[in-house]
Point group: C2
Chain length 111, copies 2
């Protein structure tokens, strides 16, 4: 698997981060990853097809929100918290504080 | 002109606000309106077609970011700052602080 593209810290763009997080499933992923550390991609969201998840990982990765690396056959995902906080001080905190998880039915619709 | 739909404060959704602001032109509008007061819609962005602007006003209005009212033949736009700050404390401040205006060519591309 070739190394997927991740923007450098100074190339992370505010509009791209907001667009990436402007979706219930991806916002849910932010909340999970904000706990810290790396998560196997299969452990974050339930009941979503692999191709749909691949799309959402790409949006999150290409916007600079998450880091993605392969470990054997597993993808490990983590939040680029240091990069985001350096680039946009207070933004991720404000977004997380503003977030009320969607109810499961709503999240299911968004998939 | 019938009154356009504006969501009530408690129906403003974080994901919709982030999606609305995840676009260079709409982010530019936020920055202008954040100065306070009402602006005639024609005084905010230059060089964009009326139909394109109508689309962007709708996205901003339906997400709860702006208030829009007709005054004679003019549309007056203002930021729903009190509603947004009540709903998502610190969010708009963090977004404005994170914003670096796109260069004009980039903004032109986004239109």
């Amino acid at each position: 698997m070739s190394e997927p593209h991740h923007p450098a810290r100074d190339q992370i763009r505010l509009e791209a981060v907001l667009t990436a997080l402007g979706h219930p499933l991806r916002m849910n992923v932010l909340q999970v990853l904000a706990e810290g550390g790396e998560y196997p991609c299969g452990a974050i969201v339930d009941g979503v097809s692999k191709s749909t998840l691949t799309h959402h990982w790409r949006v999150l990765r290409e916007s600079g929100v998450i880091n993605q690396r392969a470990s054997g056959r597993t993808l490990l995902l983590s939040l680029r918290r240091d990069d985001l906080d350096a680039r946009f001080p207070g933004l991720i905190d404000a977004i997380l504080a503003s977030y009320t998880p969607a109810d499961p039915a709503e999240l299911a619709d968004a998939r």
